[in-house]
Amino acid sequence: MKKLINNPEDVVRENLAGMAVAHPDIIKVHFEPNFIYRADAPIQDKVAIVSGSGSGHEPLYNGCVGYGMLDAACPGEVFTAPTPDQMLEAAKIVNSGSGVLYLVNNYSGDVMNYEMAAELAMSEGIRVLNIIIDDDVAVKDSLYTQGRRGVGTSVLAAKICGAAAEAKYDLKQIAELTRKVNLNGRSMGMALTSCITPQKGTPLFDLGDNEIEFGIGIHGEPGRERLPLKTADEITEMMALSIIEDSAYKRVLREWDEDKEEWTDIELIDPPLASGDSVLAFVNGMGGTPLPELYIVYRKLAEICEKKGLKIVRNLVGSYITSLEMQGCSITLLKMDDELIKLWDAPVNTVSFRWGM
């Protein structure tokens, strides 16, 4: 294993220490439990948004903390969901009294840890809602699996809901907005290579020189299927079509019912994309893929969207949700309306996102 690290055990902590000295104008870092929070937290009269998942996906949520986006991010160990005490302590610091939204990716580990965190926070008198992102169309059915994973849409949700919080949406409104973003977002990913976690020290899976993994998550897990290597245009087309032609997807997600005061299963269905829709197109690199390759993919994606009658009104191209040094990419299409466009365009100032200020 060749990495620019000291001890594998110290990677997460030293990364946070580096961020703390590099960006004191935007963020502060709390250690044990680990979390990053806005330097100016808590913000009076504003709902706080807290997210975070395993480390190894940087810049992801760490890069999203700041004005107009997240109030705190809780990084777990590499590829391991964070622990409830991280989210609890983060909530205590960033909550201004307007409540906290936990933005959770639909992995069993994340869901369970955030549920426990919510229970703990509520027991300390903090109002919390957990909203789940599950946008990965590589997972076909929700009945016989953990359900779709949360991938690309979560970053877009963080931006949009963060802007809504600045605009003083209340907790219920932001929860509703997050659901809307989730139901309108779809992603698909693929890998050309595996990656090496500092702790394990060897590749998570072996891929032949002429093979790709199609339908991967972002944790170095193997994907839906292994395919022979194809051209960028062919791969882009396969990914784009899995998203565009994805039919209505029904799933049951567990949310906290504030009236009944218990976890309740709610059924949600997301409508398929249709010709005439406006979309935000997000081409994400898995870490080790050079930027030009992402633009080559974006170029083809734009062509396909045009052919399918989808109007790309906003875009994002870059490595925002990575799997360490994995090579590969994912595509996310988020159906946009005027509200979402306005919130997307709103000013933001984080390590990864900065515009309008």
């Binding site: 391991t80 969901a81 409830p84 369970m112 426990m116 590589a138 997972v139 702790q199 394990k200 170095g220």
Partner: protein, 208 residues
Amino acid sequence: MLEKKQIIDWIDNFTAVIAEKKDYLTELDAAIGDADHGINMNRGFQKVSEKLPTVIDRDIGTILKTVSMTLISTVGGASGPLYGTFFLKASAVAAQKEELTPEELVQLLQAGLEGVMYRGKAQLEDKTMIDALSPAVDAFKQSLANNNSELEGLQKAVDAAEEGMKKTIPLIARKGRASYLGERSMGHQDPGATSSYLMLKTLLESVR
């Protein structure tokens, strides 16, 4: 009768077993998950072994609750809340107790199992730790109902856990990370079921 000392031995011994099997559990997880189960469990139990000395004079409930809290705040992933909840629910059964009757031990394991099922929403044959824990609790209960000794009951539980663990091999996963693999999850033993089997086996060995 199970004494507090044996519970402490169990936790200590399991900490050693996890440390020893760390790479094995991680390899199992590499095949159908994200290659961290052994690392996660080991991080948690290493911390448990630091915390344990501070509470050995307390009752079994407090000891198990300390194990639980430590796991919850250090393991993360899926196994953190699951094993954390297992020990949390178990600790409630052992609250204020310095020793456990065989029936109480069964109740304790049963409560832990139910906690895991509530938290994780998994069923039997979803290819998770439930596949080891659930048949083990049933077998233990059955054995006691047949008037066997605690040791005999525990032996049955361990046998059932081992069988359940092996039965996960051909299953298609329906919960956890492995479920994303669909049919590709077939042919691999579930890491969580394996660590659960090891936990019960270590309990038996610590009692014997």
